[in-house]
Amino acid sequence: MGVLTRNLDLFVAHFGETLRLFAFSAVISLLAGVFLAMLRVSPVPVFRGVGTLYVTVVRNTPLTLVFVFFVFAYPYLEIIKFEFFTAAVVALSIYTSAFVCEVVRSGINTVPVGQAEASRALGLTFTQMLGSIVLPQAMRSVVPPMVSTFIALLKNTTVAAGFSVREAGAIRDALSEAGESTLVGMLWVAGIFVLLVMPLTFLQRVLEKRWSVAR
């Protein structure tokens, strides 16, 4: 307990940063992921190709490398200057959206083809069909893997510690320099992560219950 109480402001500040990273990246990657999934099921071959290429490349790149690119290589392109926090959000979102995309796509695959065919027969456009018939059903069937993806995102935020974002992953280094027990400190970090994941699992249960009657 001592390690936590003595360094309470450190824990609060760093976990606050973790949550900020998580919130921004979660929203962006959810939107981007759904958009990517739409690309991947689109009838236009070019769109499908772009979506597939993105997912294949990003999903096979270690997150650390994505970070390295945005923190060390991206500045050479001299496009827009990023703060380290922004760079971290971009790296996390780019990475996570590939996973969100595949989760959404697997959901789309669970919707019977007949639904799409029926909506087309009714004269709906592709976007209308996807937006009002397929996606709502797809999203309902992928709650557990989607929550898993976001739990992974929450934990992945710790990678940012090596790139000048002072979040939970950096607590260990700070504790070590302060001469505190890093082992106990890490146990607290792990414990707090469990606490942070709990609302997500709760959300999962609520959504599963509420949406289970949909089909």
Binding site: L77, D173, E177, E180
Partner: protein, 298 residues
């Protein structure tokens, strides 16, 4: 051109992160012949660590591998060089073990030092390890064998940064969670808060300094001198220290006998000139004078 620079940086950055390669040159170091004379029939009564070393027949010494001039591992030859490495070798020789064949160097990150000593993974640690009250509660220290101070590393042509009071609105890089970064924040030397850049290693900071993305790198002058010595035409150390860091040899807390023995070795090295020989061949190459530390025998 841009693309080529980008590729180079990506590669370098990736390698640095995985610690497969390092920027900065490992200057050829090594104390002159005669410094590491192996002592015979060494006895350290009542030292559990020494008993362990004897039964193993060799030493395991914790060091750093990414600090040119101090503790640096050449990625091509896997050889360790630097001031700290030579200090570790000197101690090994005085404990009766041939530093060329009986030392196994083990790279231990800053954040894992105490734990490595407590676990007994290493016999002692030599790697810019500042003696602090909090650390003394977990491990004990022989020394100090070097007294450093926080300083600033800047590009050679930088005239705007002349000391700690000239970096207020500059970007200053240090290592994640480390004391120098904390001091920059706590003493409000750099404003705003986000201008303190924290990366995983000083090599990465130096890369960023070369790129002009940060204006200075801040940590102990010993470490900075190592980088300046590797690229003296591009980098310089400002030379106005604003803290005092006493580097000690970290060892197990309950091992007073070994601590006394190492203190004795260090004391002798200060009087018989071996300390100066080691300094001259490593950090001394930066051109800065080496000041003798005063041993603390607590």
């Amino acid at each position: 051109m841009r693309v080529r620079a980008l590729t180079a940086v990506l590669l370098a950055g990736g390698l640095a992160l995985t610690a497969c390669g390092k920027e900065g040159t490992g200057t050829e170091t090594g104390a002159p012949a005669g410094v590491f004379e192996v002592a015979k029939d060494v006895k350290v009564d009542g030292s559990p660590t020494f008993e362990k070393i004897k039964s193993r027949g060799s030493l395991v010494v914790g060091v750093k591998e990414d600090q040119p001039g101090l503790g640096f591992k050449d990625p091509t030859t896997n050889k360790y060089t630097g001031f700290d490495i030579d200090m570790a070798k000197l101690i090994a020789a005085q404990l009766g073990f041939d530093p060329e064949t009986k030392i196994q160097f083990k790279t231990i990150q800053s954040a894992a030092r105490e734990q490595a000593i407590i676990n007994g993974d290493i016999d002692y640690y030599v790697g810019t390890y500042s003696i602090t009250a909090a650390r003394k509660e977990k491990v004990s220290f022989a020394g100090p064998y070097y007294v450093a101070g926080q300083d600033l590393l800047v590009k050679k042509d930088n005239t705007a940064i002349t000391g700690p009071d000239t970096i207020k609105d500059k970007k200053v890089c240090s290592v994640t969670g480390a004391t120098p970064a904390k001091k920059l924040r706590d003493d409000k030397l750099v404003q705003p808060d986000s201008n303190v850049v924290e990366l995983q290693s000083y090599s990465l900071c130096v890369t960023k300094l070369h790129d002009g993305e940060v204006d200075a790198v801040s940590t102990d002058d010993a470490i900075l001198k190592g980088y300046a010595a590797a690229e003296p035409d591009k980098l310089k150390v400002v030379g106005k220290t604003f803290s005092t860091e006493k580097y000690g040899i970290g060892l197990a807390k309950d091992d007073k006998a070994l601590r006394d023995k190492i203190n004795e070795v260090l004391e002798k090295s200060l009087t018989d000139g071996k300390w100066d020989d080691i300094y001259k061949n490593t950090l001394g190459k930066s051109g800065a004078e080496g000041k003798h530390p005063t041993l603390e025998k607590y």
